[in-house]
């Protein structure tokens, strides 16, 4: 079943919190993963793989560099859902 944009945002915020300890409510659409949330590439890959499991989507490695903001990731995941 497809997840709504709000559900994906909330789920992503949960994954970011689990991996980095950053409070979920700081994970807002306009935030940049690297510049605002200070998430390094290793944590980012862990979050991506966990997001694939959580939302049942595929996020190709070459796509990860395009996911600059939280909104980029939410949009990609919503679009990639079957």
């Amino acid at each position: 079943m497809a997840h709504s944009e709000a559900e994906v945002l909330a789920g992503l915020a949960e994954l970011v919190n689990e991996e980095t300890g950053i409070a979920s409510d700081l994970v807002q659409p306009e935030k940049s993963f690297t510049d605002d949330l200070d998430i390094d590439s290793i944590s980012m890959m862990t979050i991506v793989v966990n997001a694939e499991d959580k939302f049942d989507v595929k996020i190709p490695d070459e796509e990860v560099t395009n996911l600059v903001t939280v909104k980029d990731a939410v949009d990609f995941i919503v679009g990639a859902q079957g």
Partner: protein, 407 residues
């Protein structure tokens, strides 16, 4: 050359979550060894079902985010190093004058083998990107170095069960030569995992006293049947004597000599003549400008294996001759089990505390002392004289011998 003193100690061991708790439990004659409750003990039908697990789990100390990126061996290392640095009074230092020497004998075995399970069951995409930095043997040293901002080098001696002592020896020489001003040194191990247990058991190195775990580690006893695995870490803060005095630091003791030799004899068996081990003791004493008769206390390697305990006695006899009878020997693995790469570090803490409090810890489980090892091994605490030298021995598979001398 500078004099090198220890101004901070830290430990997390089967006896306690801190150096002080571990020391007090040791003096109280406690054992840190117990049956393992993990499901994998039954699952793999392990021939050995007990070990010395850390008394305080790392998860009670570290945040989930800290723990997530560190193998258990690095978690123990960081916990002990933080305690040691706080204990030293958090000295101020120039980062480019501070180094770390932190050992492990085996490395991140939990991370490595868990990741292999993930690979087999779920494929390469699910192998976590932190796997390599978590499993590498220099992980504990790197974690400690990052935490304190040490920029004068972060090093890992890997010499099996001599690793902890070799790391402390290396740190000692760095401070002594003036290469660095302050060093954090220690050793960690977290290898209570079914594979190392199965492997050590296969080589008949482990005690199989499954029905009586707390009495299984019994160095020098006629009924000893192998060592007992332990886990944890210990750390020391090493400083130049003059600057430690200038800042009013508490000094536990001075490291006066350290030596590392190798047997070139057999990959696992100690040289029965004790040539390499005795040479390590003699050169540590030579560096200390001391003679064997200046030594009063020995924290022996004494793992509780039938062959190893005798080989160490032979080496002691070679070094100390008639003076061997005057030595007050402690075999603290009777209480802690064998922390492998962490062993030298926790035993350095115990040796320093013995000098600092003028008290040699007693050795438990010594019911019938092996007649072939007629050492003076008190069963309860014994008084030490001020100003005498104590040595701590560590030997490892590969024929490694590492000896530290303290005063």
């Amino acid at each position: 050359m500078r004099r090198v003193v220890v101004t901070g100690i830290g430990a997390t061991t089967p006896l306690g979550g801190t150096a002080g708790e571990s020391w007090n439990a040791l003096l109280a004659g406690e054992s840190g060894i117990s049956s393992l409750e993990h499901e994998w003990v039954q699952k793999y039908e392990l021939p050995v079902t007990f070990a010395g697990s850390a008394k305080t789990p790392a998860s009670e100390i570290l945040t989930p985010q800290e723990a997530k990126r560190l193998d258990p061996s690095s978690q123990f290392a960081l916990i002990s190093a933080r305690e040691a640095f706080a204990d030293a009074g958090e000295p101020e230092f120039d980062p480019i004058r501070m180094s770390v020497d932190f050992a492990t004998g085996i490395g991140g075995v939990w991370t490595l083998l868990d990741a292999f399970e993930t690979l087999k069951e779920r494929g390469p995409r699910r192998v976590m990107p932190m796997t390599v930095p978590m499993l590498m043997p220099n992980g504990p040293a790197a974690a400690v170095g990052m935490h304190f901002g040490a920029k004068a080098g972060v090093h890992t001696a890997v010499s099996a069960c001599a690793s902890g002592n070799e790391s402390i020896a290396n740190a000692f020489h760095r401070v002594k030569s003036g290469a660095v001003d302050i060093a954090i040194a220690g050793g960690a191990e977290a290898a209570i995992h079914p594979l190392p247990i199965a492997s050590f058991a296969a080589m008949q190195a482990l005690s199989k006293r499954n029905d009586d775990p707390s009495r299984a580690s019994r160095p020098y006893d006629t009924d000893r049947d192998g060592f007992v695995m332990g886990e944890g870490a210990a750390a020391l803060v090493l400083e130049d004597f003059d600057s430690a005095v200038a800042r009013g630091a508490r000094i536990y003791g001075e490291i006066v000599g350290a030596s590392v030799t190798s047997d070139a004899y057999h990959i696992t068996a100690p040289d029965p003549d004790g040539e390499g081990a005795s040479r390590a003791m003699l050169s540590a004493l030579a560096e200390a400008e001391a003679s064997p008769s200046d030594v009063q206390h020995v924290n022996a390697h004494a793992t509780s294996t039938p062959v190893g305990d005798i080989a160490e006695y032979t080496a002691l006899k070679k070094v100390f001759g008639k003076h061997t009878d005057e030595l007050i020997v402690s075999a603290t693995k009777a209480s802690t089990g064998h922390l492998l790469g962490g062993a030298g570090a926790i035993e350095a803490v115990f040796t320093l505390m013995a000098l600092h409090t003028s008290t040699a810890p007693g050795t438990i489980n010594l019911d019938n002392q092996d007649a072939k090892i007629p050492l003076n091994v008190p069963k309860s605490s014994a008084a030490l004289d001020k100003g005498k030298i104590a040595i701590s021995n560590s030997f490892g598979f590969g024929g490694h011998n590492a000896v530290l001398a303290f005063r």
